[in-house]
Amino acid sequence: MVSGYELKIKMKRNSSTKKEQQFWAYIFLFFPLMLLAIFVFIPILFSLVISFFDWELMASQQKFIDINNYIEIFGDKIFYKAILNTVLYTIGVVPIQTMLALFLAFVMNQKIRGRTFFRTAFYIPAVTSSVVTSIIFVAIYSKEGLLNSILGIFGFAANDWLTNPHTALISIMMLNIWTTSGYFMVSFLAGLQNIPNSLYEAAKLEGATKRQQFWHITVPMVRPVTYFVVVMGLIGCFQVFDQVFVMSDGGPNNATTTMSFYVYQNAFRYFRLGYGAATAIVLAGIIMIVTVIQKKYFPPNPY
């Protein structure tokens, strides 16, 4: 490396710090960019290409079928069901986890003994492998599992949460809220601690109650964090996969087939890689439209 650099100096008599920087910058970026190209940039384009093929893993030659995959998507009932499930999932999870996280953060931000313990407790689900939490919840949700025995104490009839098509998706949603709310709580907590105390003091002088302080100072001041939490929540929910794979395998009767899971199924169970790529692209389109809409109508900081 060094000799190359010296060579460069010799070659360019009028070499300069700018040229030198450029030279090093390209060296530094070479490997990262190569990896990014292979595993991010090229795949994005490649994915588009695949989606126009009837791409089969074991076939020696792939068949170009122009937009037939996309045509099939628009007549595919399960695809619509997957979109519906994903949307329901997102609508159910994002607001609740955001509010819960804000609530927890607000409670935690009071002067309370054992804050570190509670923070750790709330955060642990977020750092645990999604496969692990999913498996634990399969046990909890099973017909004779923990949830039903607790509900039984209050006289509720046992329900097989994951094989009942009416409750399967909701069960996974609850798991998701349980895992992520602690994570986002920490984000909110950081946001809350960044609010200058003087604002609260000023509000107190003007006679604002605790509740008014919460709605008129806390909520607007953590808006950038809220934005971040909502965006991350949306992205996470739109791509939920692990829980579905472990807990319900998309069933019963596709009640929990989400978009990501459907992409996976098509590509790696039915080996229809072209069709899978096409569904992924449609999904990506939907996610991007939602983010654009969100950016437009719910900007991070309107002030």
Binding site: I44, I124, I135, E144, V186
Partner: protein, 274 residues
């Protein structure tokens, strides 16, 4: 005064209840994993009354390829975390402190790629790795995770807060740009490096979709993939499965408790900025 006291008690009650909800499943899983009653899930209320045993852990460890999965997870996580942090820091430094042609273009492309949902990459990534004949191998598992745009972004933001004078001082002291990066900037970015490292560690250790797709044989599985396969292999042998979940969780838990400060800092630093 009394109102404040009542309020405090109320808050504490809420928090304790919350802690129960958040920790309960893990406690449940620990209890089940030590139980010697395979049927216990079928007999509600008897969880605690059953006998205690280490048998489930012994079974998981000795009769299942758990040790191999653990080894795989450790190798992959170690390689990915180290290289990812290194490359992210290097690229972040380059974008933050060096001027070069095409900088804005490259950085713009990277930012744009953040907008693309990851699911779109899975199929082409699989096909590309397959072209390299790397499916079901360590390189196939490690390479795609060696660089993350978000980490580059975080490191860039961090390096931008460091004064430009340091660059010039190092230049005059006779550093080349790599020495400058390695001897001046890296030693001064421990908190950022730790946050990125811990994030990467956690993400890699828990990563499921890619190893699921990129591995075929049990001896290449990582812990999460192995665990997921146990779900169907052990079926309702819940004590054994729960023993597995506990074993998988312990490393993350240890890391989390040791580095909690950095975790929280990391969340705060990513959450604060958008």
């Amino acid at each position: 005064m009394r109102a404040i006291k009542i309020q405090k008690i109320l808050l504490l009650t809420i928090l304790c209840f919350g802690a129960m909800v958040y920790l309960g499943p893990f406690i449940f899983s620990v209890i089940v994993s030590f139980s010697d009653n395979k049927n216990l899930i079928n007999q509600p209320g008897q969880i605690v009354n059953s006998g205690w045993t280490l048998r489930n852990y012994i079974y998981i460890w000795k009769d299942l390829p758990f040790a191999i999965w653990l080894f795989n997870s450790v190798v992959i996580t170690a390689c990915q975390t180290v290289t990812n942090v290194f490359f992210s820091a290097l690229a972040g430094f380059t974008f933050a402190k060096l001027e070069f042609r095409g900088k804005n273009l490259i950085f713009g492309a990277m930012l744009a790629s953040l907008m693309i949902p990851g699911i779109i990459l899975i199929i082409p990534k699989f096909l590309i790795i397959n072209e390299f004949r790397m499916i079901n191998s360590y390189p196939g598992l490690i390479l795609p995770g060696m660089i993350t745009v978000v980490n580059i972004f975080l490191m860039k933001q961090f390096f931008e807060t460091m004064p430009k004078d340091l660059v010039q001082a190092a230049l005059i002291d006779g550093c080349n740009y790599f020495q400058m990066f390695w001897k001046v900037f890296i030693p001064n970015s421990k908190p950022a490096l730790a946050a990125v490292a811990i994030y990467t560690f956690q993400g890699t250790w828990n990563e499921f979709l890619w190893p699921l797709i990129a591995t075929n044989t049990s001896e290449m599985f990582t812990l999460p993939v192995g665990m997921a396969s146990l779900r169907y292999e052990l079926l309702t042998d819940w004590p054994a499965i729960m023993a597995g979940t506990i074993l998988v969780s312990i490393p993350t838990l240890i890391i989390f408790i040791i580095f909690q400060r950095y975790f929280v800092q990391g969340v705060a630093s990513t959450g604060g900025k958008e």
